[in-house]
């Protein structure tokens, strides 16, 4: 493994994909090294379960390797991989919640403005009041509270930094559906995080 690490890091993903198609496992292992952190994070966020997330990571890369011939290069390799991982993660989620169907395309309910309740200014740099570890826990826990339809869109758009179009393609949703879910996700998270990040000593009424 040490030898392959020194051979491949400079190559772009596209070249590593070409080599993987020819059966080069070292090239594919370099793709794993580049993307596994983000795929594991995505799987953790969607499934909310460590064991499931690790399964999703493994199955996604094995699946991608097995079907690498189907990747035609119309998108980035990473986007294609995300699509596979999202599908695997949603399958896990559906299995865990067999009593409740997990559907991404059900219509959003209620008025958007009802999601805005807390009006409080935040600390200028909220992250400076917490350790990295505390911050991670606060942010992860907040995502956990969202319904799958919101958290999946939020994770792809704002955590993994996919475009609206890429997110829509990965989730088989329309662009307006991605947009409305993203707005709701952001507003719900804003609401949750306000409990932690509001400026100390502030009085809500000062801003009314």
């Amino acid at each position: 493994m040490a030898a392959s690490e020194s051979l491949t890091p400079a190559l772009p993903d596209e070249e590593l994909v070409t080599r993987s198609k020819a059966g080069d496992g070292d090239a594919f292992n370099e793709l794993i090294r580049r993307h596994d952190r983000k795929i594991l994070r995505l799987a953790r966020h969607i499934t909310g379960n460590e064991e499931d997330a690790e399964d999703v990571l493994q199955e996604s890369f094995l699946n991608a390797f097995t079907h690498i011939d189907r990747f035609e290069g119309n998108s980035k390799f990473y986007t294609w991989l995300v699509r596979i991982a999202v599908n695997q993660a949603l399958m896990k989620l559906r299995k865990r919640k067999s009593d409740r169907t997990v559907s991404l395309d059900e219509p959003v309910q209620g008025e958007t403005e009802d999601l805005v309740r807390e009006i409080a200014v935040w600390e200028e740099t909220p992250e400076s009041n917490y350790s990295q570890e505390e911050m991670r826990r606060i942010l992860d826990d907040a995502i956990e509270t969202l319904e799958p339809i919101y958290r999946t869109v939020f994770v792809l758009r704002d955590v993994e930094d996919l475009s609206t179009e890429e997110t829509a393609a990965a989730l088989d949703l329309s662009i307006p559906a991605v947009k409305s879910r993203l707005l709701r996700a952001r507003l719900q998270l804003r609401e949750k995080l306000t409990q932690f990040f509001r400026r100390k000593g502030d009085n809500v009424f000062a801003y009314l």
């Binding site: 493994m1 059966g23 080069d24 496992g25 594919f28 292992n29 794993i32 090294r33 596994d36 952190r37 983000k38 594991l40 994070r41 690790e54 990571l57 493994q58 890369f61 094995l62 390797f65 097995t66 958007t112 403005e113 805005v116 009006i119 409080a120 200014v121 935040w122 909220p126 992250e127 911050m135 991670r136 942010l139 939020f154 704002d158 955590v159 930094d161 947009k179 993203l182 707005l183 952001r186 507003l187 998270l189 804003r190 995080l193 306000t194 990040f197 801003y207 009314l208």
Partner: protein
């Protein structure tokens, strides 16, 4: 003039810089004059920023090793 409801409808496009110039201008005017909507704008912006600022944690070495070996096995090579 935008209402607070209109503002909310444009919030994401404004934050993601996908709103056209005229809309951007209207949103800007609205949040300058409406303190509540300014707070919503500012805290939503920070919400997105704190998430974007988080690095993904490394994959446990045992997990990565297992995966690498599975790939090697599929190639018919030794791991």
């Amino acid at each position: 003039m935008l209402t607070c409801k209109d503002f909310l409808g444009w919030l994401n496009d404004y934050l993601d810089q996908t709103a056209d110039a005229e809309t951007r201008q209207q949103v800007q005017e609205h949040i300058t004059n409406c303190p509540n909507c300014w707070v919503v704008y500012n805290t939503t912006k920070k919400t997105v920023e704190v998430y974007k600022g988080m690095e993904a944690q490394p994959v446990p070495e045992t997990l990565r090793k297992k995966l690498t070996e599975l790939i090697q096995a599929r190639c018919g090579k030794k791991g």
